[in-house]
Symmetry: C2
Subunit: 320 residues, 2 copies
């Protein structure tokens, strides 16, 4: 970063929202901008939106474009970090082999770096969040889908084909004994993802067994479990059991001492507490500590800012 | 390694046998020695045996002790490679916090390096075996017990507490849904380990359903499956299904393209073929290739030789 280039942009690109942050060299966010992305699939339109956002941020903070060093993006799909290419996203965006880094660099005239959103969130938590100072940990994002960002020896581990951490598809006791088919949600997602938890609730819901409505979100169900609803307690316990199994299996492979739980479902303290209790009860073979994401919905944004700051540093996968 | 020090010793230390090899700088084994270790638990006696073995090797190959640069050991338990301490072995040896590296260096007067036996076997396969040239792979040892040696980006990954790869305890569809208790065999070991396969056979064996005897080893059962015995075919298919689930789960976490199968049970080609068929059939999310160990019972010995050669090199965890 040259002396006059004092700022970077971080981008959290999701299937429903685009969020941008302008940050200084210390990672302090000095301006924010966001817009919906529902229905927008064309990569060129997404890049146009990002360019608009960068312009907005500059005006908002009175920072000229020439003072912006670089941009980092967390993308919702499998991403080849070396090539800067989003290999595949879910059906929402339907991207295949989109050279997002090149598109951004051409549109903005500054270096760009692109990574998978869950990896980027893990990088954020590692830098300024719940995993700060921990060299080995797993960030588990549990929302509609489930995925893991793996940090080993202080570096994000992405796997030979850029798909490390696809743990929403893990086979566990109680799941079908062959993997979910192509285009299907993973087995763990079916049980522990936001829609899976809702479906479980609707399946066991009976008007004479609870005073609660049939239509509740996963976090509302967990909340009601903490308030003492016995049906909801059953769901929370089942989800915690599945999450404990998932974490136990990952910990057997990686021997990671810390799991950071993020995402709309994963960040519920009731789920964390019950899962930790089970893991502690299961004994000494692996004893991971579970922490809630401390950055919450900003984990990806902060990780993307870190990606941008790393451009030109020796540790980056994409030195400019 | 100084110019006159032309040799190293590799040690495969097991619960039933101790095997030593004297190798030159290129890893060519010029002399071998072995002896039983059944009933020998005292670490000092084991070190005495190793010292005897080194003397034997020297005489056998007419190599004076001063020409031996270093010694590497694969130990049957959780090992702190940095400290050279065997933290815990199975009940057979019952070791706890044995400073094996220091004991060997004191007894032999040359630098020593110690690692877990499965990790050492993975290093052997990586160096001169079935994983040569592959930067990311998992070595799966399937014998009485089951464990994984994980190589990521060309380096053995051992985990924050030195227990990465304890996959014999993984929770899978069909296993109990809470982990095995302390001191118990792992759930996967119960089904896929040598004794587990034998027990399955004895459980389903009926004199009028097969012409085979009730007392067969795991590999004999797999052999008979290939010869067409329908009971044995059932066992082989069940084992392959469990192994495919185990590999699938590990591959989801690590995105490793290659699994090398070793150990008495794991090296059966019938098991490999049926497991590969299942993984191929399960589709495209992860598609690991399964290879049989090409070093077989020498995998640990060759890995131990590599450990010894690495002492004093920059990549070793224990520079002298």
């Amino acid at each position: 970063m040259s002396p006059e280039q004092k700022y970077v942009v971080g981008v959290d690109l999701g299937g429903t929202n685009l969020r941008l942050g302008l940050a200084n060299r210390d990672g302090a966010v000095v301006a924010r901008w966001s817009c919906p992305t529902v229905g927008i699939r064309d990569p060129k339109l997404v890049v146009d939106l990002i360019r608009d956002g960068v312009d907005h941020l500059g005006r908002q903070a009175s920072v000229p474009r020439r003072d912006i060093h670089s941009i980092g993006v967390g993308a919702p799909g499998i991403t080849n970090v070396e090539a800067g290419v989003v290999i595949a996203t879910s059906y929402l965006m339907g991207w295949r082999d989109v050279p997002l880094r090149d598109l951004l660099e051409a549109a903005l005239g500054i270096p760009a770096s692109v990574d998978n959103d869950v990896n980027v969130a893990a990088i954020g938590e590692s830098w300024v969040g719940a995993a700060k100072g921990t060299r080995d940990f797993v960030f588990l994002a549990i929302g509609t889908g489930i995925g893991a960002g793996i940090v080993l020896d202080g570096r994000c581990f992405r796997g030979a084909g850029w798909t490390a951490g696809e743990v929403g598809y893990m086979l566990l006791p109680g799941t079908p004994d062959v993997p979910a088919g192509r285009g299907q949600p993973g087995q763990v997602e079916e049980m522990l993802g936001g829609n899976g938890v809702k479906s479980q609730w609707q399946l066991i819901w009976k008007g004479d067994a609870t005073t609660l409505p049939k239509d509740l979100t996963a976090t509302e169900i967990f909340d009601q479990a903490l308030f003492g609803d016995s049906l909801a307690i059953g769901i929370l316990r089942r989800c915690a059991h599945i999450l404990a199994q998932l974490i136990y299996n990952i910990a057997l492979v990686l021997n990671c001492p810390l799991f950071v739980l993020g995402g709309g479902v994963g960040m519920h303290s009731g789920l964390r507490d019950e899962t930790q209790r089970l893991l502690d009860q299961w004994g000494t073979r692996v004893q991971p500590r579970l922490a809630l994401s401390s950055l919450g919905t900003d984990a990806q944004l902060m990780g993307a800012i870190r990606l941008a700051l790393d451009i030109g540093q020796s540790q980056t996968a994409h030195p400019d």
